[in-house]
Symmetry: C2
DNA sequence: TCACGATCCGGACCGAGGTCCGTTTAAAGT
DNA sequence: ACTTTAAACGGACCTCGGTCCGGATCGTGA
């Protein structure tokens, strides 16, 4: 196995507890060598251009390498694999969302009651995914790793926390997965593009789902 | 585009309405030529053997072809792509489940109240996926097509129907997607294998989820 | 029985992701 | 400035899914 690189240091510890502090891939960059940093920037720019010109499907690792005047190996060294490269392209907006969740103004950030924060969370994520939908889809890792990727873990952890507050008796981690499942890019794509549902309907669905799930009075 | 073959005649019409009658891929097989049928059987047998010996990852299209003493092209002609082959391996149990849902004894089949049928549905699917989990995972199509594949559409349609009866006021198709999301093989794998949750917890989670979602009294 | 056409077969071929390893180079130490 | 070394580079190479098309085969109608 090649030691690859840091961007997404495979989690390893399979806990379902929130990892609130590691901001996705934002913290411990080992400070690249000058040429490496330059090439990284070049590659991201080239990739973005390719997306704009030929869509996400046109982002071939070789094409990116060529467009950045760089060897193919360099792309893999820097980003690990295709998914890593695509995720890096989305990293900025992901960081922004994480910031808003942790320290932004209510109701997204701290300060509002948990159920309201959940409502806001859903519509925020929904909207972020709907822009960049194609990229978001293409950046999806293989099914097995989907739930282990830092961004996903962060969001799920956040929801878990809010759920614990909102509905103390429930199995929060499990319910969190349910809510996150509604926000799966592939599902959003299916509902909007293939079933033709308007975004408003999805948002209403989220609202309804959250209120149903957070009802505290148990069955009967 | 190669016309490929019937096994999964790409849906084309993006409706969210249930397609209750087409039993997955079971009905309209065009009756293969003798040699084709023989090769199909050989291929399935070979694939099953490879799964047993080397796991799903060992099921290479070339390996299957070789093990069945058949050309590679033949595999693709018959099954369309890797996913198609793997799905064919799971077809039997899928058909069985569909039969039980449509005509089996309650509470899985008709006759029980919808909420009870939903409960039974979840545990049945959960169990079916947990056996064959590796295969189920490997057979997963690329994200974009996941929701369009006949078996998935059938199950989702079934749930939609039950939800319409159980909770008339709600957006049944959307809620159905939520419930089906809980039964995503990748999620099941993550929770059981990586988080170490026992199956009982997942089943309890399903029960809880269904009761929460089907509560009719609206918020306040 | 024979001929003919639709169907099927096989494996060469292609593209893309991912790996390997000999070479180059930034940058820290002397 | 010179040495040293860990890091980065580049592109040949491998694997595997998927396509193509000339040739073999089945089954049908005469």
């Amino acid at each position: 196995m090649s030691a690859s690189l840091p961007p997404f240091p495979r989690p390893q510890e399979p806990t379902d507890e929130p990892v609130l502090l590691e901001l996705g891939s934002g913290a411990d960059e080992p400070c690249l060598r000058a040429d490496a940093a330059r090439n990284r920037a070049r590659l991201l720019e080239a990739a973005a251009r390719l997306v704009a010109e030929h869509g996400a499907a046109g982002v071939t690792m070789e094409a990116v390498a060529a467009a950045a005047s760089v060897g193919k190996g360099t792309v893999f060294r820097r980003f690990g694999d295709r998914t890593g490269l695509l995720m890096a392209l989305l990293d900025h907006s992901a960081q922004q969302l994480q910031g808003a969740l942790l320290g932004g103004p209510p109701p997204l950030g701290p300060g509002a009651p948990p159920v309201e924060r959940l409502q806001a969370f859903g519509t925020a994520v929904l909207r972020q995914y709907v822009d960049h939908l194609e990229l978001q889809l293409a950046a999806q890792p293989e099914p097995t790793r989907r739930f282990s990727f830092p961004p996903q873990r962060f969001l799920t952890g956040h929801v878990t926390l809010l759920l614990r507050q909102a509905v103390p008796g429930a199995d929060a981690p499990l319910l969190a997965q349910v809510l996150m499942g509604y926000l799966d890019p592939a599902l959003i794509h299916h509902l909007t593009e293939e079933c033709g549902m308007p975004l408003e309907r999805l948002e209403a669905g989220w609202t309804d789902l959250v209120t149903r799930v957070t009802r505290t009075e148990l069955p009967r």
